[in-house]
Amino acid sequence: MSKLQKTLAGGAFTVVVELKPPKGTQVAEMLAPVGALQDRVAAFALPDNEHARMRLAPWAAARLVKDAGAEPLVNLTCRDRNRLALESDLLGAAALGLENLLLVSGDYVTLGDHPQAKPVYDADSVQLLQIVQGLMAGQDSAGNPLKGNPVFFPGAVVIPEADPLAPQLLKFDKKVAAGAQFFVTPPVFDLERFRQFKEHMPSHPVKLLAGIKVLGADEVAQAAAGQWRKVYSLPPDLLAELSGKEAEEVLALGAAQAGRLLKQIKDEKLADGVYLKAKGRTDLMMRVLEAAGLQHKG
């Protein structure tokens, strides 16, 4: 059982922090938060070519996190690999001692930095969860037996503010049926909408990590210009607070606000933990955790 799984199972409020694998081979910056924060967070997540932008492979980054003494969470998308590559990367991850998985469809190729690349999507996220179940049971997706079964702790994504919500909830059920044991949400800014989602959310014995994000000036400017196209909304008063400020000031205010949200989610027990995106920057992560009163682990 992975440490992340144990932490969640133990009922402790769980903090996962997302790192930024580099575009290139300089990994020091990506790993900086690991040394600084590993006694306060349950796991470090490694996105997989996030937003369809090519970066260092998540399983390699995850192994580096592990070598640095911390717990990694590997994200794996269906966008860039067919079933052979997915399965072989999964076995590779297992061989490197990586157990925690966040399995997603993946942002569409044309939105990223290689817009002419071939989109793969040989499996969808539900089928990828099934593939993982199969591998754990000793079979590849074609039914061939494995020599040595991997052990994984598979998670998936659910979208609280999905519009329409009903198809999303139906897919949530399918992901649970396909073996997802925990769920991560996109960033939550509007707690009222998150509470409403919790009311609709079918009850399953799975864990929920709410997304927490430190907003950047570019995102604030985008939203202020009415060009916000994300699956989560920004409350107008937050936008007003952050608009028209210097980039670093936006980040500082955004980190304080993220910390307050985190604390509220924890205090109200709205989720089992959080998945924090703070631009991969240690200082911002610290500020969030401090603002949330989470200086020390637990």
């Binding site: 942002d107 989109p119 040989d122 996220s125 539900v126 659910v158 329409p164 059920d173 399918k174 049926a177």
Partner: protein, 226 residues
């Protein structure tokens, strides 16, 4: 039907630059309906070429002919003698037609006059949209008559991705999310159970290219063929 778009004029002009006598062959079926390669478009291209080359003081002799279907030998065979006089051919048919034509007229270079786009529908004159990727494993009975392979850019089979915004597709906000629509249709039909079932991985081997279909009644005749 097959939807195509006429290639840009500059590209076609460059293709035929080395020749003095060319033949433009139109196709009277799909590409005629989508106004890309029928008789009218053959005439238009011929005039465009003559005009443009005339302005440059160059001479190009152009023959024009349009057959019912270039993807059918029955209509291509009579062309054989006719093409012998020309140095090069522009076929205005879809990619299938161009290839079939070249199989017969193999002595001259052949150039495609259109880019073949997709299998789609004629929404209104001049406005065509894709509907089918010819996956050879049709799901339409399970998805409320909306193709998940084609209408969802990711070709997802088990419901929407996380990118739907107000019922619109993550990849293109101009388009509706296919899975939002599928859900809605199935709900209206009272058959949401179809969507609750987990769809297995798609059998891509069914659409390994190049595909072949032999009608059951003809199995004996073509039995051992490719």
């Amino acid at each position: 039907m097959i939807i195509a778009e006429r290639k840009p004029f500059a590209e076609i002009k460059a293709m035929v630059a080395p020749y003095k006598k060319i033949l433009i062959i139109g196709c009277g079926t799909c590409v005629a309906v989508c106004l890309a390669g029928g008789e009218k478009e053959v005439g238009l291209l011929a005039s465009q070429l003559k005009l443009a080359l005339g302005l440059e003081d160059k001479r190009l002799e152009i023959g024009e002919i349009t057959v019912e279907r270039q993807c059918d030998l029955e209509f291509l065979r009579p062309l054989c003698d006719f093409t012998a006089d020309y140095e090069a051919i522009i076929s205005m048919a879809c990619g299938a037609g161009v290839q079939y034509l070249k199989q017969l007229c193999y002595l001259q270079p052949i150039f495609p006059g259109v880019n073949t786009s997709f299998i789609g529908v004629n929404n209104e004159p001049g406005y065509y949209t894709e509907r089918c990727r010819a996956c050879n494993h049709c799901y339409l009975g399970l998805t409320g008559g909306i193709c998940p392979v084609t209408m969802c850019p990711k070709g997802l089979l088990n419901g929407p991705c996380g990118g739907t915004i107000q019922g619109r597709c993550e990849a293109d906000p101009e388009k509706e999310c296919a899975w939002s629509k599928i859900y809605h249709r199935l709900e209206l039909e009272g058959s949401l159970d179809k969507m609750r079932r987990i769809m297995p991985l798609h059998p891509h081997d069914r659409s390994t290219t190049p595909g072949t279909v032999i009608h059951p009644a003809f199995k004996r005749r073509y039995g051992a063929h490719e």
